[in-house]
C-alpha cells in the first residue's frame, strides 16, 4: 500500500511541475506579457519547443503502453470531465472555503481529492481519495484517506464526471450537461465525524492550460498532460459535524489533470498556493525545491484575470514562521510572505499567507507519507484581508523521499 501511495503522491508532485511548464509555454505562445523582450524570448522558446516536438515525433504511447497527450486535442464535454483510462494517471482535485450564514458565521476549509492510477500491466485501476475538513473556529482538523481497486466501491466513469470512493463522490448534477452549463455535486466526509454535501457551480469558465490542449512538462517527449481547471466555483450545501448540521456557502477551486508521464526524481518537494481574491481574480504559484536545497527555475506564479485570461509574474516567497508537526516531526512553513507584480496596475505587491489553523497536515495513515494542505487567509501589505487561499507543502516529513 505504501508504494502505491508513493507513486500517486509523486504524481501530485507532477501536477505542480506540469503546471510550471504549461504556464511558461502558454505565456510564450503569445499571452498578455508586459515585457516585449521577455515575450519575444518566450516565443522563441515556445517555437523551438513546438518544432522540437514535431521533429521528435511525439509518440502516441509511452514505453509501458499508456497514451501520451497529443496536441490539437479537442475537448468535448461532459465526456472529458470523465475518466481517461487509456492514460496512466488522472485526478480530480477540489479545495474550497465555506461559511455558515448570519451573525457569528463559522468558517471551514475543505479538500476533496480523487485519484486514479492504472496498473503497469493495464489489468486494473487503483482509486485513491483524500478528504480533509478544517473548522477554523476551533482549529480542529479532520482528514481521511481511502484506497480501493476500481470496481463497485470506487470508480470513475468515462462518459461524464462521476467519480466515487465509498460514500464519497464528485459528479455532474446533470450527467449530460454541456460545456458552460456544469453544476457539480460533491459528497464527502471524514469517517463519521463530518459529512459534506456541496453543489459547485462554476463562476468563471474552464481554463485549459497549455499549448493546443497539451501542457508540456519537460524534455522527454512523453512528459505532457491535459490540464483542465475551474479556478472559481460557487459552493453551497450542508456540512454535518458530529450531530450538528450546518448550511454553508462559499467558493471552491477544481482541477482535473490527465497524464501518463513519470516524475523526474530530482525534486524533494514543492510549495504550492491557489488564491481567490475578493476582487474576482485568482493567483496560483508553486515553488519546486531541489535536492540541493535550491529552487527549481521552473517555479512559477500565474494570475487569472476576472475574464479568465492568464499572465505570469516573477515572485519571491519568504517563510516567516514554521510549524512543527507533533505527529510526524515534520517542520512546515506556516506564515509565508509573497512579493510579486499586480498585472492590472503593474505595481509591486506584497501578500501575507496566514494558515487558518496550524495543524492541517494529512498524516499519511494509509501511505505513510505526510503533507500539509491547508486553508489560509491572504492579507495585503496594509493588513487588509484580500482573499482566501489553499497552500500545499510536500516533502517536509522526514520519511518522504522523492
Amino acid at each position: 500500500m505504501t508504494m502505491t501511495m508513493k507513486i500517486i503522491l509523486k504524481e501530485i508532485g507532477v501536477r505542480r511541475v506540469r503546471r510550471s511548464c504549461c504556464e511558461m509555454i502558454e505565456l510564450g505562445a503569445g499571452a498578455r506579457a508586459r515585457s516585449q523582450f521577455v515575450s519575444f524570448l518566450r516565443s522563441v522558446v515556445a517555437a523551438v519547443g513546438l518544432m522540437g516536438s514535431i521533429w521528435a515525433q511525439i509518440p502516441l504511447m509511452t514505453t509501458d503502453g499508456f497514451a501520451v497527450p497529443q496536441a490539437g486535442k479537442i475537448f468535448s464535454f461532459p465526456r472529458d470531465h470523465g475518466s481517461h483510462p487509456e492514460f496512466k494517471i488522472e485526478w480530480w482535485y477540489v479545495t474550497g472555503h465555506v461559511f455558515t450564514a448570519g451573525a457569528g458565521s463559522r468558517r471551514f476549509g475543505f479538500q476533496a481529492t480523487f485519484f486514479r492510477q492504472a496498473a503497469p500491466d493495464h489489468t486494473t485501476q487503483l482509486q485513491l481519495a483524500h478528504m480533509a475538513i478544517i473548522d477554523v473556529s476551533t482549529g480542529k482538523f479532520l482528514h481521511q484517506e481511502r484506497l480501493n481497486r476500481a470496481g463497485w466501491d470506487a470508480m470513475a466513469k468515462t462518459e461524464t464526471l462521476d467519480v466515487r470512493q465509498g460514500n464519497w463522490s464528485l459528479r455532474l448534477s446533470d450527467p449530460a450537461a454541456p460545456a458552460g452549463a456544469e453544476r457539480f455535486e460533491l459528497q464527502g466526509g471524514v469517517q463519521a465525524e463530518a459529512a459534506l454535501t456541496l453543489t459547485l457551480v462554476p463562476a468563471k469558465p474552464l481554463v485549459v492550460f497549455g499549448e493546443n490542449g497539451v501542457s508540456r512538462k519537460g524534455a522527454a517527449p512523453t512528459a505532457a498532460s491535459h490540464y483542465l481547471t475551474f479556478p472559481r466555483l460557487r459552493a453551497e450545501g450542508r456540512l454535518t459535524l458530529g450531530t450538528q448540521q450546518l448550511a454553508v456557502r462559499g467558493e471552491a477551486w477544481m482541477d482535473h489533470e490527465i497524464s501518463s508521464s513519470q516524475l523526474d526524481a530530482n525534486q524533494v518537494g514543492w510549495d504550492w498556493a491557489g488564491v481567490q481574491f475578493h476582487d474576482g481574480r485568482e493567483l496560483m504559484l508553486y515553488q519546486l525545491r531541489t535536492r540541493e536545497g535550491g529552487v527549481d527555475p521552473a517555479s512559477s506564479l500565474t494570475w487569472v484575470a476576472a475574464d479568465g485570461t492568464t499572465s505570469q509574474k516573477k515572485f519571491t516567497w519568504e517563510v516567516l514562521d514554521t510549524w512543527k508537526s507533533l505527529a510526524t516531526g515534520a517542520v512546515y512553513p506556516a506564515r509565508v510572505a509573497l512579493a510579486t507584480t499586480d498585472p492590472m496596475t503593474g505595481a509591486a505587491v506584497r501578500y501575507t499567507f496566514e494558515p487558518l489553523a496550524s495543524d492541517q497536515e494529512l498524516k499519511g495513515r494509509l501511505g505513510g507519507i505526510a503533507y500539509w494542505e491547508g486553508a489560509c487567509r491572504v492579507r495585503d501589505a496594509t493588513g487588509r484581508d484580500v482573499g482566501s487561499a489553499y497552500m500545499e507543502f510536500t516533502g517536509y516529513a522526514a520519511e518522504l523521499k522523492l
Partner: protein, 881 residues
C-alpha cells in the same frame, strides 16, 4: 450445641474413622472423583468444541456490525453496487466475503478417506481492507510485506513500487496464519472443488497486536482470486458491514439494519456475527445437552455408592454414636459431624474430579470435535482449558452429591438412641423404609411412562431437547432400582433349589432371603449402570442396523465421486459442471446421477436444499421412504417443478408433513413447493429439502454439483474406472460402493465413541461399588464370620459364600438392568433420539453384546466378592473401624 463440640467430634470421631479405614475413604473419594471428572471432562470438551466455531472475518476486519447473506447460495456482485447506492452518504464500510473450505491435497498413493486438514479460505478485498480503522496499527499491508530475501533498504523507491505491483497483480496466492507452520513452505497444494491447486504463499496475515488470534488453518486470499478459484466469479457468499464509529453509532447501526432488511426482502437475511455464533451453538445444543446428561450417569451411580458407604459406616458405628449420645452430645451435633464428613469426602472427590476431568477433556475434546465436525460445522479444535468457574462447579458437584447422599445416614446417626437404651444385637436400620417400598418403585416407573409421552422442549434455531424423556429415564432408573431389590429373595430361592447341598451356599442365601438395605442399594447402583450401558448398546445397535439398511438402500451406485476438498459436514466443495459432464461421459458409465446441496436458512432455521436427478434415482435406486410419494409427477422433470421431498429430520424440525407447502427463498425468488414425500436420511440432523436438480440449478444460477454417483456398464471393473478418473482429476475423492459404505459406518461409529466411553466408566464405577458393598456387608457381619471360622469353615468356603452372595447381587442387578435397558432403549430410540434428531430407527437388541455385558458384570461381581470374602474371613471380631 457449640462449635467446639463439633470440632472435637470431627477430630476424635470422624478423623479417626478415616484414619482407621483409609482404603474405604480413598475408594469413596475415587468414586466421587470419577463421577465429577466425567462431567467436567464432557463440559470442557463441549465448550472447546463450541468456542472453536470462529467467525473468521473478525480476525481481519474487527467485529462486523451486520451481515447480509442469501438464504441459500450466493449473492450476485451487483448487490454491492445496489447497496452502496442505497447507503448514500452513510459512512459504512461494505466488505464482501467469499468463504470456502479446502483440504490439503492427498499425497500420491494416499487412500481416499476423510480426516485430512481442512483449511478455511477467506476471500476479502485485501487492498480495501487497509481502509478500515482497525487496520491502522499494522506494520505493513498484504502487498508490501517484507520479503524473506532481499534488501529493501538499499533499493530505490521505484524498485519498491515494482514490488507492490508485482505482489498486487500476482496470480492466486495465499496469506497464512502466523501459527501456520514454524517455517513457511513456498507454496501449498490444496484441493478446491475437483482441482488440485498449487498456491504461492505470499506472506503472513498482518494482524494488529490486540486482534483475535488467527487460527492456524485460516488462509486469506484476495477476493477476486478466491472467486475465481471457487467458480464464484461475480458472486459473493456474504456481505459484512462495519459502521464507522463516531457520533450516533448505535442509531446509525439500527438505521442500517432497517434499511438492509427493507432492501433485502426475500433476497437476503440480515444477521450479526453474534447471531451467527449463536446459531452455531444452537445447532449443537441438543447434542451437547445429551452428552452432558450421559456424563452425569457415573455421578448418579456414585451417589448410590456414597449413600450406602456412609449408611454402612453409621450402622457399624452405632454403638460408638450411642455412647456419644449418652455422654450428652446432642443429636444435631452428631448429624452435623456426619454431614461434615460427607462434605470433606465431597470436596476431596470434587477437587480430584476436576483434575481428572481436565485430563479426560484433552481426550474427549477430540472425540466431541470429530462429531461436531462430522455432523455440524468445521471447528478448529482448541485445547480444553479449565476456567475458575468450572473448578468451582466440579467442587460444588462433588460436595452436592456427597451431602445429598450423606443426608439420610447423618439423620440416621442423629436418631441413634443413647447407649443405655440401644438394644444390643438389634437388626441394623439399614437405610430407610422408603427404599424397600415396592410401591414407590412402581409409582416412579408409572410416572416415567407418563413422562415418556410428553413432547420435547423446543430450543431456539430448530433445536429440541427431550427433557421429559430424560426425566422418564431418571424415574425408570430410580423405580427400577427400588424394584429390583425384590429380585434378591427370588433369586435366592432359585439358587437354593439348584445347589443348597453345600453349606456355604446356604449361608450366602440366608443373607439374601431377607436382603439388607445395603444389598438393595448395591443392586440398584449396579442395575442403573448396567441398564444405561445396555440401553445405549441397544440404541447403537438399532441405529447401526437402521443405518446399514439405509446405506444399502440409498447407496446403490458403483462409484461415488466428490471433491477431495470435502472433509466434513460443513465443507462446501463442488465439482464443476464441465468435470461432472466429463465423468458422466466416460465410456464405462451406464448412468450418472448428479447431486447438489446448498445450506439454506428457512425461517431462520438452518437446513439443506438439495437437488438430484429424480427420474434417474427413481429408476436406479429407491429412496428409503418414511412416507412414500403418491404423486407420480414427482419423477417427471417436466411436471415436478413445484414438488419437493423432505427428509424425516426436516419434518421433525419444521413440523411439516406430506402435502404441506414450503416457501423456499432462492436467488431466483421464493419458490413454493409441496411436500410430496418423506425419506429417511441419517446423514444430517438439520434435515433437507430435495427437488429435481434441473430446477435447483435454475433457481441457484449455479451448475456445479456436490457429488456424482456412477452406475457402470455390466462387467466393468469399478476400481479400474476409479483409477482412470483419478488420473484425470487428482482433486476428486472417488469411493467404490464397498469403500463408501465402510467409510459411512466408520464415521457413524466414531460419533458414538464418546458415548461408549461414558458408559464403560459408569459400569466400572458400579462394579467397584459392588466390592465396596460386600466389604461393608462383611464388616457388618464380622461377629458371624468369626463364629463361622470357629465352627471350622475354611477361608475358601467363606470366600465362596461371599462370591455367591456377590454373584446373586450382580445377577439380580443384571436381570433388572436388562429389563431397564430394553425400556431405556425404547425410550432412547422412540422418544429421546427421535425428539432430538428426528430420526426413526428400527429396534434391534444386540444379544451378543448384552450377554457379554451381563456375563462380565456377574463374573466380575463373583470374582471381586470372592476376594472380599477371603479378606472378610480373616477379620478380627473386635476390629475397630
Amino acid at each position: 450445641m457449640n462449635s467446639s463440640v463439633i470440632r472435637l467430634l470431627l477430630q476424635r470421631f470422624s478423623l479417626r474413622h478415616a484414619r482407621l479405614a483409609p482404603r474405604a475413604s480413598c475408594l469413596l473419594v475415587g468414586i466421587l472423583a470419577l463421577g465429577v471428572a466425567v462431567f467436567v471432562a464432557i463440559r470442557l470438551a463441549n465448550r472447546a468444541a463450541v468456542s472453536s466455531f470462529t467467525h473468521f472475518t473478525d480476525t481481519l476486519t474487527g467485529q462486523s456490525d451486520l451481515i447480509v447473506q442469501a438464504p441459500s447460495g450466493t449473492l450476485p456482485e451487483s448487490v454491492l453496487w445496489e447497496l452502496r447506492a442505497a447507503l448514500g452518504a452513510r459512512p459504512v464500510h461494505i466488505v464482501p466475503v467469499i468463504e470456502a473450505t479446502a483440504a490439503r491435497a492427498q499425497a500420491p498413493g494416499e487412500a481416499a478417506g476423510f480426516g485430512r486438514t481442512t483449511y478455511t479460505l477467506l476471500g476479502v478485498d485485501l487492498l480495501a481492507l487497509a481502509n478500515l480503522a482497525s487496520q491502522s496499527p499494522l506494520p505493513h499491508g498484504y502487498f508490501d510485506q517484507p520479503q524473506d530475501t532481499g534488501g529493501r533498504g538499499v533499493r530505490g523507491d521505484q524498485a519498491g513500487a515494482g514490488d507492490f505491483w508485482r505482489a498486487y497483480t500476482a496470480g492466486p496466492q495465499v496469506w497464512v496464519s502466523p501459527a501456520f507452520a514454524p517455517t513457511r513452505p513456498e507454496s501449498l497444494d490444496l484441493v478446491i472443488d475437483e482441482r488440485v491447486r498449487t498456491l504461492r504463499i505470499a506472506g503472513v496475515i498482518p494482524t494488529a497486536k490486540d486482534a483475535p488470534r488467527v487460527p492456524a488453518t485460516l488462509l486469506v486470499l484476495d477476493l477476486p482470486h478466491l472467486q475465481q478459484l471457487t467458480g464464484k466469479t461475480g458472486r459473493v457468499d456474504r456481505v459484512e458491514f462495519l459502521v464507522e464509529p463516531g457520533p450516533r453509532a448505535p442509531e446509525r447501526r439500527s438505521e442500517l439494519q432497517t434499511l438492509l432488511e427493507q432492501l433485502g426482502r426475500d433476497r437476503w437475511i440480515v444477521t450479526t456475527p453474534g447471531e451467527r455464533r449463536e446459531s452455531a451453538e444452537t445447532m449443537t445444543r441438543a447434542f451437547r445437552l445429551n452428552l452432558t446428561i450421559l456424563s452425569l450417569i457415573a455421578l448418579l451411580v456414585g451417589l448410590y455408592l456414597i449413600f450406602q458407604a456412609l449408611d454402612g459406616a453409621v450402622v457399624r458405628r452405632r454403638t460408638e454414636i450411642a455412647i456419644l449420645r449418652s455422654l450428652g452430645v446432642e443429636a444435631r451435633a452428631i448429624q452435623l459431624a456426619w454431614l461434615a464428613e460427607a462434605a470433606v469426602l465431597g470436596l476431596c472427590g470434587g477437587a480430584l474430579g476436576v483434575g481428572l476431568g481436565w485430563l479426560g477433556a484433552q481426550g474427549a475434546v477430540r472425540a466431541v470435535g470429530q462429531t461436531v465436525n462430522a455432523l455440524y460445522y468445521a471447528t478448529t479444535l482448541e485445547a480444553a482449558g479449565l476456567a475458575p468457574g468450572e473448578f468451582g462447579l466440579g467442587l460444588a458437584l462433588g460436595l452436592g452429591a456427597s451431602l445429598l447422599a450423606g443426608w439420610w445416614p447423618a439423620r440416621l446417626a442423629a436418631r441413634t438412641p443413647p447407649a443405655q437404651v440401644l438394644p444390643r444385637g438389634a437388626p441394623p436400620a439399614a437405610g430407610g423404609r422408603w427404599q424397600q417400598s415396592f410401591a414407590l418403585g412402581a409409582g416412579a416407573v408409572v410416572l416415567g411412562i407418563v413422562l415418556a409421552q410428553l413432547p420435547p422442549l423446543r430450543l431456539g434455531g430448530g433445536g429440541r431437547f427431550p427433557l421429559a424423556g430424560y426425566a422418564a429415564a431418571f424415574f425408570w432408573i430410580f423405580g427400577g432400582g427400588l424394584m429390583c431389590g425384590w429380585l434378591l429373595p427370588l433369586l435366592a430361592k432359585l439358587a437354593r433349589a439348584l445347589g443348597a447341598a453345600w453349606t456355604p451356599v446356604r449361608i450366602a442365601l440366608s443373607h439374601l432371603r431377607r436382603p439388607s438395605g445395603r444389598h438393595r442399594l448395591s443392586v440398584a447402583a449396579l442395575h442403573c449402570a448396567v441398564g444405561m450401558a445396555a440401553g445405549m448398546a441397544i440404541l447403537v445397535a438399532s441405529f447401526e442396523l437402521t443405518v446399514r439398511g439405509w446405506i444399502v438402500r440409498s447407496l446403490q451406485a458403483d462409484l461415488y465421486i466428490a471433491s477431495a476438498g470435502a472433509q466434513s459436514a460443513s465443507t462446501d466443495n463442488f465439482i464443476s459442471a464441465v468435470a461432472a459432464d466429463r465423468i458422466a461421459a466416460h465410456p464405462a458409465v451406464a448412468a450418472a446421477a448428479r447431486f447438489t446441496a446448498y445450506p439454506l436458512s428457512l425461517d431462520g432455521i438452518p437446513t439443506l436444499f438439495t437437488g438430484t436427478d429424480l427420474a434417474l434415482m427413481h429408476a436406479r435406486s429407491d429412496l428409503p421412504w418414511v412416507t412414500p410419494p403418491r404423486d407420480l409427477a414427482l419423477w417427471d422433470v417436466t411436471r415436478n417443478a413445484g414438488l419437493a421431498l423432505v427428509s424425516e429430520a426436516f419434518t421433525e424440525r419444521f413440523g411439516k408433513k406430506r402435502g404441506d407447502i414450503l416457501r423456499v427463498p432462492t436467488p431466483a425468488g421464493v419458490q413454493t413447493l409441496t411436500i410430496a414425500g418423506i425419506f429417511a436420511d441419517y446423514g444430517n440432523e438439520r434435515g433437507s429439502i430435495m427437488v429435481d436438480r434441473v430446477h435447483l440449478r435454475a433457481w441457484m444460477g449455479d451448475d456445479r454439483v456436490t457429488n456424482v454417483s456412477l452406475w457402470l456398464k455390466p462387467g466393468v471393473d469399478a476400481d479400474g474406472v476409479r483409477s482412470e478418473l483419478l488420473g484425470e482429476f487428482p482433486g476428486l475423492a472417488i469411493f467404490t460402493n464397498v469403500k463408501l459404505r465402510a467409510e459411512v459406518l466408520r464415521i457413524f461409529r466414531q460419533t458414538f465413541a464418546i458415548t461408549y466411553a461414558l458408559e464403560v466408566i459408569a459400569v466400572l464405577v458400579a462394579v467397584v461399588g459392588l466390592a465396596l458393598t460386600l466389604t461393608s456387608v462383611l464388616l457388618d457381619r464380622r461377629e458371624e464370620l468369626t463364629t463361622l471360622r470357629a465352627l471350622g469353615f475354611t477361608r475358601r468356603e467363606l470366600a465362596g459364600a461371599a462370591a455367591l452372595e456377590g454373584g446373586v447381587v450382580a445377577a439380580a442387578a443384571v436381570a433388572g438392568g436388562l429389563v431397564l435397558s430394553v425400556a431405556l432403549g425404547w425410550l432412547l430410540i422412540y422418544v429421546i433420539n427421535k425428539q432430538s434428531f428426528g430420526w426413526t430407527l428400527g429396534f434391534a437388541v444386540p444379544w451378543g453384546q448384552l450377554a457379554a455385558l451381563a456375563g462380565a458384570v456377574v463374573a466380575t461381581g463373583v470374582v471381586v466378592s470372592y476376594f472380599v470374602g477371603r479378606w472378610g474371613a480373616d477379620l478380627p471380631a473386635d476390629r475397630e473401624e
